[in-house]
Symmetry: C2
Subunit: 433 residues, 2 copies
């Protein structure tokens, strides 16, 4: 059969990984799809930046998107340039020209997924995006196909490598947040401006995409309640360990009676939970379905070659669809239905509190009364330090988020409480280690 010709938008970390992996595994990939497959054109900003890459001789590098859009021999376009503009316009134009598209662009898909999927459907071509969440980890396809008989009750993902690297370094090396961030930047795990990673926005985009797939209905980024890891101190990490937990930044979708709650937040994860063992730059997505119970997908959440694995898996699936003349018959994301998003304030979990209090008689009683007034029961309470100021650490039984917010405010107003150092949601069950 004729060669399948591919256009590549972007030749950075992921783009060059895609080109090199295709070269390395060409024999295997072509045997699988039963025909030759080549990246014939690649779009870059400045041609002169790419002289050092060892690219195939027959790959034409261009600065003009029209060279790819107008090339009728190109049937698959891979978008790994990132960003919203002009990636969105290029993808829409490629789809309208009858080209299948593979994208790893989570920012774009979280914002414009429905428009892109609708355009692919209208033009009877494929749009696949396995690489947009969890790098090389297969999660989009298993969620859409293998687990689709389930009502999904919960998704909890460690889907941001930067924050997981920082929290792991704080846990394992006892570093402060600032030290761990500096180390992550030095090693290339965090960007010079790490705001969208450490602030939780990157994870929010990914949980929005996963939720849209699992529930076959769109959610928007505004539906996600977002809290980053900036307020996690070395002391919180240490106390967590003593109580049998590990602190992780989780991106969560949780089914409630009246819809799904979406949240990115640091959480106390029980040390025996499989998510607790996800360290460093690894990612994992934990899914609870009403038939399968709990499953987890684990692997490298980013990087040139892991991401290329997911991108090329999608390319090979499209090649198979081209062979069988079945492109455009397999939409992965919802086109227009909107998911019902529930109010997070009613969402109950156990919580951890750390307070700095005055060390005098009656303080504990006053604090306990504040929790009791909001119907919150205390599971563990430990006072540490014999100075004028003492530290009070508590784990409380499941409490609604609004009750926790009220308690925090009232505690902060007490004369005996110097400050509420932190309150963090506990994921799953209270640990008894």
């Amino acid at each position: 059969m004729d060669m399948i010709q591919v256009g590549l938008l972007g030749l950075g970390t992921v783009g060059s990984g895609v080109a090199l992996t295709l070269e390395k595994n060409r024999e295997w990939i072509e045997a699988c799809i039963g025909r030759p497959l080549r990246i014939t054109r690649a779009l870059v900003k400045n041609k002169k930046d790419y002289g050092h890459l060892e690219l195939p001789d027959d790959l034409i590098i261009t600065e003009d998107i029209q060279d790819i859009l107008e090339d009728e021999d190109i049937s698959i376009v891979i978008e790994v340039m990132g960003g919203i503009h002009p990636a969105r316009e290029f993808i829409l134009q490629a789809l309208q020209k009858g080209k299948n598209v593979v994208s790893a662009n989570k920012d774009l898909i979280a914002l414009h997924g429905p428009e892109i999927v609708r355009t692919a459907s209208e033009n009877q071509v494929d749009f696949l995006c396995e690489a947009s969440v969890g790098g090389g980890i297969p999660i989009v396809l298993p969620l859409q196909k293998s687990l689709t008989a389930n009502r999904v009750e919960e998704i909890a993902g460690i889907v941001n490598g930067t924050t997981n690297y920082i929290l792991s370094a704080m846990t394992e090396e006892g570093l402060s947040y600032a030290e761990a961030l500096a180390q992550a930047q030095k090693l290339g795990y965090a960007e010079a401006n790490p705001a969208s990673d450490v602030g939780g926005l990157d994870a929010a985009r990914k949980i929005a995409i996963l939720t849209s797939i699992a529930y076959r209905a769109n959610v928007t980024l505004d539906d996600v309640q977002v809290e980053g890891i900036e307020n996690i101190s070395a002391r919180d990490i240490q106390v967590a360990g003593e109580l049998g937990y590990v602190i992780k930044l989780l991106a969560v979708a949780k089914k409630m009676d009246d819809g799904v709650v979406l949240s990115v937040h640091p959480a106390f994860v029980p040390a025996r939970h499989p998510l607790a063992a996800v360290r460093g730059a690894y990612n994992a997505v934990y899914v609870v379905g009403n038939a399968v119970d709990d499953v987890m997908f684990y692997g490298k959440g980013a990087g040139s070659f892991p991401t290329a694995s997911a991108v090329l898996g999608d390319v090979m699936e499209i090649a198979h669809h081209i062979n069988e003349h079945i492109c455009g018959k397999n939409p992965l994301l919802a086109t227009d239905a909107m998911a019902k998003v529930a109010d997070a304030s009613q969402w109950k979990s156990p919580y951890y509190f750390r307070l700095i209090v005055q060390n005098r008689p009656g303080v504990l009683a006053e604090i306990s009364r504040t929790f009791a007034r909001h119907g919150i029961s205390i599971e563990t309470m430990r006072q540490l330090g014999e100075e004028i100021s003492a530290e009070l650490v508590m784990v409380v039984y499941p409490a609604a988020q609004y009750a926790v917010d009220c308690v925090r405010e009232e505690l902060q107003a007490l004369d005996s409480v110097e400050r509420v150092a932190n309150s963090i949601r506990v994921f799953g069950e209270i640990s008894h280690e």
Copy 2:
């Protein structure tokens, strides 16, 4: 659109789970596939055994396979009766009659997979078998599609719930093998005759299936070197823990220069490896690809509803293929190519040894010389006990299996060695915990 009618072969644990899950999630499932879907007939051995199940009124129970094979309205047959005969014949006949088939039958697929896949292909119908490995864990589809751009370097699975339950109970409760087995039998995690589980045969079937999918070439059960957990003692488990390992029964496919080595064996898994955290009745499959690096799939490896999740995911995929008139275009397993199977004797790993030796001068030197003669370097050596007999525990740097076999034999022949209590392969890297 018209209703999709399904025939169910077997109404035991998995079969009733499939029927009940379909009832419970009917609204969601039918919305996803865009049309009604019903199990209209179920084949059982004795009708009178099924009076107690709360089945839908319109489900006809039969003892005659022809009632299902001759029913032209049935387009999908689910085989969850287990065993080789008559499951093989029923599946082949269903395929020949143009029915798509979903099976959870690992025994059958490990033995007759190629014949079944060929028959499906010849009749342009689908044969899917996600539930045959790892219960509800999505692994067959991700391996066949999401990871397919990789050359798979290694698969290591904890794919047998019985042995993982027994080893976990030995590790966590300090039970002996016999005690843990008895407890597993009492709780229903082990059969009255546990031979095929504890002896490794069940795991061998599953790694044979996974290998056929990952390498797109058939392997047979005879290609798998099989060792069970019967020789693992409480003492081995304890020593493993002290050295920073957990003992797991692994089903491994490892790519060598001259083919793939297939093996089921107990292994020392470093405590920080994600497979070490897979406890009790959970299963996991760890895959290393040359682009994706390492990924892991984790979940409930058996049970009525998790297995039903995988079966119904396949049924919904076929329903989608029926909708789009694309059945038979998506073979999951190889039809005739045979994989090149390498000789396991050259396969190198670190190893653990436990010897019972005489406590007298010169013994250590004699033992060390035996290892050295075969080019095996010792990483850790600990002598325990000051009595006439002492216990010697060692971890050695990577050694080929044939060299380890030779050393075992020579050690056993030494006067100073009372017995070689065990030698166990170390998975991955030597632990430094």
